[in-house]
Amino acid sequence: MEKIFQIGLTHYLVVAAILFAAGMFVVATRRNAVAILMGVELILNAASLNFAAFSHFVHGHITGQIVSIFIIVLAAAEAAIALAIVLAIFRHYRTIDAEETSLLKD
Amino acid sequence: MTRKVLLAALCVASLAPVGSAFAEAAPGTAPAASEARKVPRLSISPSKLSFDGPGSQTVTIKNTGTATLKVFEIRLLNEGRPDTKQKDGTPTNLPFKWDGSAPMAQDLEPGKTLTAKVKFDPAPSQKQGVGAVQVICNDANLRAMPESTNDATHESSAYGAGIPLRAGEGGMQGWLLVLMVFLPMAGALLIVLIPSKAGKNVFRFVALGTAAVTMGLAVYLFMHFDRTVGVANGNYGLQFVKQFVWIRAFNVEFFMGVDGLSVTMVILTALVSLIAVGASWNIDKQVKGYFVMFLLLETGMMGTFVAMDYFMFYIFWELMLLPMYFLIGIWGGPRKEYATIKFFLYTLAGSVLLLLAIIALYYTSGKPGVLRGVPSLALSDGTPAAHTFNIMKLTYLNNFEAASSILWGIKFSHLIWIGIFIGFAIKVPMFPFHTWLPDAHVEAPTAISVILAGVLLKMGTYGMFRMNFAILPEATHWARTALAVFGVINILYGAFCAMAQTDLKKLVAYSSISHMGYCLLGMAALTEQGMVGSLMQMFNHGTITSMLFILVGVIYDRTHTRGVNEFGGVASVMPRYAALFGFAFMASLGLPGLSGFIAEFLVFVGAFNVYKLLTILAVTGVIFTAAYHLWALQRIHLGKFNPKWEHELKNNDLNFREMAMLVPLAVIVLILGFYPMPALDMMTTGMKDLAAFVESAAPAAKGAAVIAGM
């Protein structure tokens, strides 16, 4: 019983996995473009959490944490671009519903 | 104008980036300064020995490195000397020999040299010699010598290099085939450069001139081809050889030559192409493009028949597809798009399987196993090689069976055989891969139908001879009965379909399918008569069917219809046409006295002992063939003249151009009917060798007896 309360690597990995799954779910089901981007952020942060956790608990050196910082920067850049694109979509379609944009179809 | 010059300059300049930019990506193939380590370095001079006639020349081998060069062996390779003995047991003649004693294995100190003399001493019937001096040593700078059971075992640090020995490769002996293949391409290039406003006749005459010159070269070939040369004379029985290394990384060579199997086909190609240029005279739209495509097609056809390297064969084989696609698709009849894409897809599907089989053969050729007769897989300049695309080497390197694994329940060599076979079977065309032919023939313009039937169909059977039979003889024995059965199906099915046709061109198309069935039956018999008959049938069918399609074209040009039932009594208004028409139809049904009979007779004689039942069926097929031929002849030419065509046909008999196309073919058919020796002589030696070779790979007698009972 105490094992569950002793916070260790497994907890972090489980949380990261949950975040990853949640992110995937959000991307797959939500229609709002901004919400989808939030899902992408969740996925990226899940990976970041993984890196930090492995770095701290398993290996002792900070390489993983440095990678986490890189991921934060990257996620920010990607979010900026993505939101700019969503803005452009809004100007055209007057909505940010991802299902509405269907000009390009097979 | 300056724009065009600039474009041309750009064409030339853009070749530079291909080479230099990417070569720069990896500088330093030259090793680091060798002051750090002492290495031996081999240098052979001169880089090539050319003999214009019998004589002797010296080879110098020098160690230009800083360590001792161990020379393990110095070999004299004679290309094309399979270890078959002649019937009386005398060994085959080697054109290149050591003058004096052969050089021994030795160690060369830095700076020392070693000389040896090579002499070219040909037998009377050998005009060319292709060979190499190969040095096996320990200079690591040379391409590492790969595993090859052909080479004697040496230390693991043995590497090889060599220089080519060439005799008789200059002059017409060496360049004839190269000229014949690439002259049409040069003609096509010339037509591309002439601006369109020069007028249609310029293009027509340039094409005619090119085809005529090629025909002249073919006549030269006919006169100078030595009919007595076979495999036993060395050089694999090839003449007019031109051989040099092309893509070293894959051991691909540019290798051209003719032997008994291909020489008649080469002459046929030149003849039919010339006739077809005549038949193309009334093409009116986009004449320039038409003749460019036509001449490219001729290059492809010529190249296929003379290519002796499998990769080169494949390139020329595929080279024919694009021009045919455009020729049928732009200048064809009402359903041309359907017909041409069907032709292209069918043929391409077969060709890509052929490609896989070629690659599989290449990698199998290096496996150890039962070897016969090939001294080495080395390239023609002496570089040792682990695998080969050389068709002749593949033929005599009979290790495929021993090296064959089982894949999906079938022997791998059998799978390769099937892969090669499907590609050629589509071209023949063999039932059930024949459905592209009626459409393609009907929709193609007359000249293209002539080429399609006259030459392209022959490539299927030629390929079967050259690839399936020669390279994989054991698998051929495994499949021969099926081949014979399909041949007979072709004969009968083609004949029955032809009987039901009302479109004259379609009737002739189905008759082509039927005639090619005789070829297949003759091939499957694996006897000398059968195979010679098959080859003769290929040549005859080429000439006869060309005549048939031109005759169909004649009436179509005048009346724009080809329906058999629409005419009647044409003989009364067009006597010359009727005479040639009757002549051609008689030849096509195999009337004795005309060339078609000779071929069919040989096929039947050759096949009868082996496949009694099938031969009987085939002979009955002759009756059906006669039926539809005579029936068509009667409906068109005999009986009461149909007045509907009075305006088009009266006083509109064959003109000079049409006579000029038909009469030479008719003369050839007639002469070969009574005196077939000019053609038969060229074929016999080569096919005798091939038949003996394939027979010698027969499985145990038990299996053969089962087959003979059919």
Partner: protein, 529 residues
Amino acid sequence: MGPLSNVESLKFYAPEMVLSAGILLILIVDLIGDRMYKRKGGVSNRKVHGTLALVTLVVAGAVLWWVNHSTPESEVPRGVAIFGGLLARDAFGDFFKYFFLGVTFVVGLMSMRSRDAIDHTDGDRDAGEYFALTLTTTLGLFMMATATDMLTAFLGLELVSIMGYVLAGFKRRDRKSSEAALKYVIYGGVASGAMLFGLSLLYGLAGTTSLAGIKASAAVAASPTTLITAVTLVLAGFGYKIASVPFHMWCPDVYEGAPTPVTAFLSVGPKAAGFAMLIRFFGGALPETLLAKGALLDSSPWPLILGASAAITMTVGNLSALGQQNIKRMFAYSSIAHAGYLLLGLVALSGGGSGSRSILFYLVTYLFMNLGAFLVVIALAESGLGENVDDYKGLGTRNPFIAVVLCIFLFSLTGLPPFAGFAGKFLVFSALLEHPTSMNVFLAILGVVNSAISLYYYARLAKVMFFDKAAEGAGPIKVYGVHAATLTVLAVPTIFLGVYWAPLLDAADQAIRAGAPAVIGAARAVAGL
């Protein structure tokens, strides 16, 4: 030789620094120079920025050449890790650097005269940004091709992807372009996230982010199940970049919506970089025990997974292209199919260097064919021709030169001799058949059958151009001289590379053989071919 330190590595980073300087220069000129030269009268924005970009590329190429030639082999060997192991400087990387410089040069040339990319209204206002973004993508491609650490690999991948999102949506006023960008960013984000998650698992096992470290790690070799999960996730990222099934959904939409020069760039550049990364990853990261030499099914699942991926990608790509009416969409599916053929080369990777060599050769021929085909679309669009197959009716009579050139590219893409595409396919199939296992033979047969299928839609375009008559009132079409010249320069190698292989094959051989020791693992086991 161990990895070089940061200071020592700067010399070998010079081409990238040149590119960075070029990007900054374009941005600065865009900001301040605009007024200066406009007043002098007449030099348009796109010419200035375009020339700056092209000059930067040429200088970067020259610097790359000089750096290689001025450092003798004895001082610094050809294959060495720089920046402490983050990037590699080797012949493999250099091959791809020249490749990307070439691609960007041609695309830059195309874009200068393309209304699709740079809106000519508003005085070419976007030109500076366009070329800066393109050069940044090239920088990212450089990083992708030389990355030997998962961090730099990911950074390079993201740099290219993000620039791709912006470039795809560059036509702000066009709905399709914005929609393409949205789809691209969503797909790309998810795929990169999944790849990152997989990389994190690998890091967890190996304890280091460098690919060579993963290869050497005992923990990785000891846990195959985690490895499968991790590598599958990583393959999601790679698969998205090279547009293989089932990560290809973005491809047709993005290719159709983006400006055509951008499409041309995306179809060649990132795809090649993706394959470079795949070769480094599968050759240099997966432990040798798990990367079966000889590709037998039962010793490792990777050949099977890659083979299945290749088979499905080829087939889906070709079959989907059969029904397309929009040319850009058709070429999108065709590029998916070509990714499938390239994956066949990857399946043969474990057998020795011949698989990687075939991929490199194929990529170069693919550059010429694909860029050429897109350039024809761009050149004709400049004269007002639409993007549908039917718009090309009768092009054989309206502009024979363009029609013939397009035919050359189309039949080369099919893989017909004597064109370059045949040589690429021949090498790929040879690599497969060198070890004729059951799976390899099946894949080879499937590959050639797919080539035959692809003929149908390529020939359909040729048919429409030559067999159909032009629409009523359609006169001759002219194209710009620049486009015609570029097309010629692309068409000539397409014709000759099919028969004249030697220089390119040697270069590809050198690139594979002389790779950095820690970088390309299995391929170096072969002592020449």
